[in-house]
Each structure stands twice: as structure tokens, then as C-alpha cells.
């Protein structure tokens, strides 16, 4: 496999893990726009340990999860007192604070960043992304997953049903932060270099978009969202010249057409995002959709029981 495709596979796997990290709080009704902050924490923990102490990947990644998770847990208590747009701003501010601290830290390389000696190929991120996906599917099938979705739908009633609202929110936020940390650690080992500029606000916005557009009602959503928005720009990169030619010929222009650069694919990406928001605001994968696909399996099972 070429370096280009293995790179895309790594990015895809990292984005899937990252998206699940944001999905968990969002599924409980907490929009988290601080994804880049937690990812940066994980990335710098992994980079620092790898660069200074030559720790292997098997040790840096668990610590990246732990540090981001514990920080997420501690930050959750004050930050989850905020609601709606204030919570979004609060998480956003958290990411900015993390970026500011790292940028001004000598030990973490400041604006220069840190090199990461230990490199991982696409295999490790892929396997971890598969494990994280299974973990989140498992979590969503438990009573914890049930109350997460209940808290998302109606906090007052969930409370009266006996759900520990704050406990559920803090747990979902902290576990999500840990997953963002894992995504960050994998980022560090994949690109073998971390600099804080890579963990900017656009990263937080993009990962939240993956989740919201993929769908927050089921664990399928982040998987589809991350895959779609990671692969679409690459697909456009390949298809764009043909697409330009086709559009040009519609307007009667013949011969070679060349756009000034390939930033046009971001225009198309934006267009797709807007169209999704208009026609599918609940996201690509919704609960009624997964239930619609289920009866066939159920009917088969029921038929099997009767036959047996």
C-alpha cells in the first residue's frame, strides 16, 4: 500500500476515535467544542514521553488517555454547569486555554513543537479505532447508554426517574475526553511531530460536524460522519479535474480547464454540509432508520423460533 493511502487510513482511524470522543457528551445533550484541547493534551503527553524518555507506544497511549480523561473529569464539574450556547463557549474556551498553555511552555517546545521518535503505521490506529467502536457500541447498549440518551431527551423527567444526571454527564464527558486523548496520542505517533497550531479551533469544529452530521442518536453516526468527511475531500481531490471538465462543458467551454488550485473541493464540502443541514438535520444515521433496518432481522429470528 502506498504512503498516501496508509496515511489516509491512519487519519480515518484517528478521526473515528476522535469523533466517538465528542459523540459521548453530545449523545447526553452536551455540545463539546473543546475537542482540539483534549486531543492536544493526548498528543503532547505521548510526544513528551516519547521524546524525553523514549517510552514505547504501548505506554504513551494509555497515559494519553488517562491524562485527557482525568482533565476531562475535573473540567466537567464546573463546565457542565453551563447550558446550551454557554457550554459550547465554555468548552471552546477550555481548548484555547490548553493551546495557550502549551504555546508558552518551554518544556513542551512552545511554538516549535516536539518531534516524536516512535512512529506507528496505519495498523495500530485501525485496530484501536475498531476497539473504540466496539466499546462505544457496547456502552450504548447498556443501561448507562440508555440513561445517556434519556438525559439528552429530557433532563427533568430523567431526574424524576431516578437517573443521576450529573453523574451521567460527567462520566460521558470524561470518557469522551479520554478518547479524544487517545486520538491525540495516535496523531502524535502517526505524524511524528506535534505543534500546537495543528490543534486549532477548526479541528474542534470539524470533529463536532462529523458527529452532528453523522447523527447523534446511534453509535453508527460518528463512524459514518467521520468516514464521510474524511474520505469526501480525498475523493474530491481525485474526481475534481473530471468534475471541472464536466461543469465547463455544460457552459460550452471546450478544451483544458484548470482551477487556480484545488481549494474548490472545500467549497463542495461546504455545500454538502449545508445540504445535509437542510435535508437531514438529525444527521445521516437516525434511530428510526436503524429500527427500520431491524425488523427484517427480527422477523427472521421469529420465523426461526417458530420453525424450531
Amino acid at each position: 500500500m502506498g504512503g498516501y493511502w496508509s496515511g489516509i487510513l491512519s487519519i480515518l482511524a484517528i478521526n473515528v476515535i476522535f469523533a466517538y470522543g465528542i459523540f459521548l457528551p453530545v449523545a447526553t445533550g452536551q455540545l463539546n467544542l473543546g475537542g482540539a484541547g483534549f486531543q492536544a493534551l493526548g498528543a503532547y503527553v505521548a510526544a513528551y514521553l516519547s521524546y524525553n524518555y523514549d517510552w514505547p507506544v504501548g505506554a504513551t497511549l494509555p497515559l494519553a488517555i488517562l491524562v485527557a480523561g482525568v482533565v476531562g473529569f475535573l473540567v466537567a464539574f464546573p463546565i457542565l454547569r453551563l447550558r446550551g450556547v454557554y457550554l459550547v463557549l465554555g468548552t471552546f474556551a477550555f481548548a484555547e486555554v490548553v493551546a495557550g498553555l502549551i504555546l508558552n511552555s518551554e518544556t513542551l517546545g512552545g511554538a516549535m513543537g516536539l518531534p516524536v521518535p516512535a512512529f506507528v503505521d496505519y495498523g495500530v490506529p485501525i485496530v484501536l479505532a475498531a476497539l473504540v467502536t466496539l466499546f462505544v457500541f457496547f456502552l450504548m447498549s447498556t443501561r448507562f447508554g440508555l440513561v445517556m440518551r434519556a438525559v439528552h431527551d429530557d433532563e427533568v423527567v430523567s431526574d424524576l426517574m431516578g437517573v443521576d444526571i450529573r453523574g451521567v454527564k460527567v462520566a460521558a464527558f470524561a470518557i469522551g475526553a479520554g478518547l479524544c486523548g487517545l486520538a491525540g496520542g495516535l496523531y502524535a505517533h502517526t505524524f511524528t511531530y506535534v505543534e500546537i497550531q495543528a490543534f486549532n479551533a477548526l479541528v474542534s469544529i470539524n470533529v463536532l460536524l462529523f458527529v452532528l452530521l453523522g447523527g447523534t442518536q446511534t453509535a453508527f453516526g460518528p463512524l459514518f460522519g467521520a468516514a464521510f468527511f474524511t474520505l469526501l475531500p480525498e475523493a474530491l481531490r481525485i474526481l475534481l479535474p473530471d468534475l471541472q471538465q464536466a461543469v465547463a462543458s455544460l457552459f460550452g467551454i471546450k478544451g483544458e480547464v484548470r482551477a487556480p488550485d484545488d481549494s474548490w473541493r472545500f467549497v463542495i464540502l461546504g455545500l454538502v454540509t449545508v445540504l445535509m443541514m437542510v435535508f437531514r438535520p438529525e444527521g445521516l444515521v437516525t434511530r428510526p432508520l436503524t429500527e427500520k433496518l431491524r425488523p427484517r432481522r427480527r422477523a427472521r429470528l421469529a420465523g426461526g423460533e417458530v420453525a424450531a
Binding site: T142, R143, A150, M161
Partner: protein
Amino acid sequence: MTAPILSLDGVSKSFGGLDVISNVGFDVAAGGRTALIGPNGAGKTTLFNLIFGVYRQDSGAIRLEGRDISTVPSRRRIGLGMARSFQNIRLMPHLSVIENIMLGQQARANGLGAMLTPLSLFGRTKWRVEAEALLASMGLGTYPCEVVATLPYGIRKKIEVVRALAASPKLLLLDEPAAGLNPSETANLRDFLVEIADGGVTLLVVEHDMGFVRSLCDHAVVLNFGRKIYDGPTARVQDDPDVLEAYLGPRHAPAAAGEGAHAA
């Protein structure tokens, strides 16, 4: 009369100078079917919210089986043996019917082990089996996997009652269960509730439909402007001059008293 399961004593609540509940006290007999009625804005739903701790009362005591529950946080009150439905259906719209019922079991499943057990990933757990049996016993066995938002109003109304039952309550508080139902659905709901009451659950029902109240409840408490104006048998509530005045205005009270006029 048996010992009351729920007892309110001098309960008052005001919001910013507006007295919504003023010195209200009454008993709900264990095993009985009590109606809580009154014109719109009388404070019936507020009283439910006080009983469940959504708000804390300013003064007075709320006792469940003799124990003052005023300081118990709202989250823990369902675990004391009471559950409720809501005036406007408040099922979780994105959850399936069976998931809503399993949410109703939450008060009995709060430990870490119970929280991290998959509900139906590897075969059916006891929670799932129990919820399905409860649904089936209430004649709703055909709907377990439907997402609630897609179901008709009358069905959702019943599912909300079943969700409350999933907590295995001794006392069930229903806030306008018949509102918005057509006559046949109302009759159906009445039979449904009688069955629940016969199973040993005490009912306290807020309702406007007097025909429904008469056919379901033996005892009635009437509120008007946050004060209790009647506390007695349902059969005589429409002969009470205070009640008639509350519903029809002072001019009509004496004339209407002998006619058994509609209170709703």
C-alpha cells in the same frame, strides 16, 4: 379508613409573591382511587411537582407512609415507592417503547453493575424480559421496538402510565391521563387504570373529565386558586356549593346546586 399512604399537611408554595398553593392538606388512602380536581390554574400540577420534589414547598409537610419526604432530593423520591405521569406526554421521543419502560426501572437499577450490563446485546436480560412482560400484560405487547415519536397519541398516553408502573410503585400519580383522548380511548384507559388499582396500586389522579373521574375515583379533593375547597366522596362533589361556585361563578351556585350540573 386505612392509614394514608400519602399525607399533605399545611403545604404552601408561592412563586414571586403569587401564592400557588396555600395551606393545602389532605390524605390519600392506601389502596384507594383519589381524584384531584379543580379549574385550570388551581395548582394541581404544582402540587404534583411538590410531591416529587421538582420544587420544594415553602412550608408544610409531605409524608409518604408516615415519613416526611420534604428533604429527599427529587431523584430519590421515585425509589420511595411512588411514580407519576405528566400532563403533556413526556416520554423520551428518541427512545423505543421498551427503552422508555426500562428507563422506568431506573430507580431499582442504579448500581454500577446494573448500569454497565448490556440490556439486550447478548440475549435478553431480566430487565428487558420484565419490561416486555409488563408491556404485554397491559395489552401493549405489539409495540416494543417502535420509536415513541412515531406512535399515536392514545398509545403514548398509556405507555407513559406503564413507564411509571415499571418503577413498581405503591402510589401512582397521574396528571390528566384522559386529556386529548376520544370517548372510546377514555373508556379503555379507565378499564386499564382499574386493572392497575385492583393490582394493589393506589391512584391519585388529576383530571378534568368528570365522567371519567366519577367512574374511576371514589374520593375527590378539589382545589381552587391553590386552596382546598372540597375533600370527600366523588359522588357528592357536584352538589357542593363551593365547588359549583369555583366552576360556574357565584351567581350560579345556588340555582345549579339542585341540578347536578356539569362541573367540567
